[in-house]
């Protein structure tokens, strides 16, 4: 019996633009579970379904953690080789992602006026059927806003603009922590991806790939090379996406020419300053100024 997964559709080189759906899709790839994926774009399910939703025979499972548990019970387990401590670490890092990174992600996509008007709302509007396209994005946006305000805004910070500073700084710290933890490894626990990799991928992939008009968090993330590499590796190996074509974030493509240019510039500047020094020495050492003396080339 096949598993059927309902989720939002894909764009920007990603199989899905929705974080929770991406988590489930990535985990399914890692654990080898075969899922029939059905996108809810352009159906009435955009307003009724809480995606992602897994249908198996007669039962329905929602929420990424529940779906992952369900897949594990069906013996699709990507965490099989983890030690007990690593399993505990997984839970802890997932909590860190939820608490620190998700509010900022919600803000970037749904509350920030620029991004919402130019990217998120048009995308979701164009992927919902008439007349739902009037309601769906607005409802998601207000849910996101209320979640941020209820969990992060305490009494002196009643205003969303004050909360913004706090949630973005926490998100940047969280990204730095993840980067430290990942180090130079391919995945968080060695050479094979696990559920933690799925969660991290689900959260950061939209942030890396979406063409956001105003993305301070995106800029910060682009500076963390190992996280970008991590995301591209997963896309390349597990989703056969055209990750090579989009080189916004692949560090080697961008940084090499920059580094090479920088090196050339530095060499030129050094040569110039050497020349100037020599000229200066010559002029000082000569007892009379010889205006026609040519500098050594």
């Amino acid at each position: 019996m096949k598993n059927l997964l309902l989720c939002w559709g894909g764009d920007w080189d990603l199989p899905s633009v929705h974080t929770d759906s991406l988590i489930v899709l990535a985990y399914a790839k890692f654990s080898g579970a075969k899922l029939a994926v059905k996108s809810i774009d352009w159906t009435w399910r955009t307003i009724t379904a809480s995606v992602p939703q897994l249908h198996y025979e007669a039962s329905t499972v929602t929420e990424p953690t529940q779906i992952l548990n369900f897949l594990r019970k069906q013996r699709f387990n990507a965490d099989y080789e983890l030690t007990a401590k690593q399993g505990a670490d997984t839970m802890a890092y997932i909590a860190l992602l939820e608490e620190k990174l998700r509010p900022a992600l919600l803000h970037t996509f749904w509350v920030d006026a620029d991004n919402y008007a130019n990217l998120t709302r048009p995308w979701f509007t164009s992927h919902s059927p008439f007349p739902l396209n009037f309601f769906v994005p607005g409802r998601q946006a207000s849910l996101a806003l209320s979640r941020i305000l209820l969990t992060k805004a305490e009494s002196p910070l009643l205003n969303i603009t004050e909360v913004e500073g706090k949630i973005y700084s926490e998100a940047k710290e969280c990204l730095n922590l993840l980067s430290h933890r990942l180090g130079n490894f391919h995945f968080f626990f060695g050479d094979t991806p696990t559920s933690l990799d799925a969660f991290v991928f689900g959260h950061i992939a939209p942030l890396i790939k979406a063409p956001l008009p105003s993305g301070q968090l995106q800029k910060h993330l682009n500076q963390l090379d190992n996280l970008c590499q991590f995301c591209n590796t997963i896309l390349k190996n597990y989703f056969n996406a055209s990750a090579e074509k989009r080189t916004d974030c692949s560090p080697t493509a961008i940084h090499d020419p920059v580094d090479a240019n920088l090196q050339k510039l530095t060499q030129l500047v050094n040569k110039e300053s050497n020349l100037i020094e020599k000229m200066d020495d010559n002029l000082r050492s000569s007892p009379q100024h010889r205006p026609n003396s040519t500098p050594p080339s």
């Binding site: 399993g87 670490d89 802890a92 909590a95 209820l150 004050e162 706090k166 933890r181």
Partner: protein, 274 residues
């Protein structure tokens, strides 16, 4: 606080040493304080003891309203008021006392992750059990929360608080959970903590850090508070290394105050650890 204000406060904090009359404010111990607030308060007290900083505990009925962020406990040091464990840790660090300086980057990442796990799971579960479970809310939470006030204010405040917590639970998706699922989550969280602790004395082996203080605060309070049923405490008790961890910290940091504080501690407390 905005970022600039935080930086400013750190600057001022760094200027003066820790005074003798630093005070920690929390709701009334006997009648008013609830499980989640008591856990947070104990975590802060443990942290300050681990740093060797003296603090007086003062119980006020309106502690929640005095706090700058609406959360208890908060500390009043010199001419500054700081609430919540995260900010208090930053504040003491600015004064030059820190428990986690010796950790490297990866360990610090782990520590922060585990602290978030405790906040995300244990604290949210405590709030859920107190306010979203009808029986507990009616028998314990509402009467205790509103005990210092007279009618009709006590009803209004209690229901307002309950409604606020329920809204928060809906926002993070916990309102659909049943009590059984919440107990299961607590159990999983304790399992993760137990596996991380292993046989070490503290979470980062040699010395205690703020993570140890936070975990101790929550676990000890869960173990010694009497709710409508004992299921929460039973979940924690099934992990023996966590129990011995709590004993160890209690012995190390609270032994001289044991007699005084335990006998007069939480109204529903069963005294010291079993």
């Amino acid at each position: 606080m905005s970022l600039a204000a935080e930086a400013f406060v750190s600057q001022i904090a760094a200027a003066e040493p820790w005074p003798e009359n630093a005070t920690l404010y929390q709701p009334l111990k006997e009648d008013q304080i609830l499980l989640s607030d008591s856990a947070s308060s104990l975590a802060v007290q443990t942290f300050l003891r681990m740093c060797g900083l003296p603090v007086l505990v003062s119980c006020r009925a309106n502690a929640e309203y005095m706090s700058p962020s609406g959360k208890v406990p908060f500390i009043h040091v010199g001419n500054q008021v700081v609430s919540e464990l995260g900010l208090i840790v930053q504040f003491t660090k600015a004064k030059g006392h820190s428990l986690s300086d010796w950790l490297d980057d990866v360990q610090r990442a782990e520590m922060k992750a585990y602290m978030e796990l405790v906040n995300n799971m244990l604290l949210t579960a405590e709030l859920y059990i107190q306010w979203c479970d009808d029986y507990t809310a009616t028998e314990i939470s509402r009467p205790r929360y509103s005990s210092p006030y007279s009618w009709p204010l006590n009803h209004i405040l209690a229901y307002q608080k309950q409604w606020e917590v329920q809204r928060k639970m809906t926002a993070i998706g916990w309102s659909g959970k049943s009590l059984e699922q919440v107990y299961e989550d607590v159990s999983q969280c304790c399992q993760a903590l137990s596996q991380r602790l292993g046989t070490q004395p503290y979470f980062f082996n040699k010395q205690p850090t703020e993570l140890d203080a936070l975990v101790f605060g929550h676990l000890f309070t869960i173990l010694t508070t009497q709710l409508t049923n004992d299921e929460l405490a039973e979940k924690v008790k099934s992990y023996t290394n966590l129990l011995s961890f709590c004993h160890r910290i209690e012995q190390a940091y609270f032994k001289e105050h044991d007699r005084e504080s335990q006998s007069g501690s939480l109204h529903h407390s069963k005294g010291s650890l079993p």
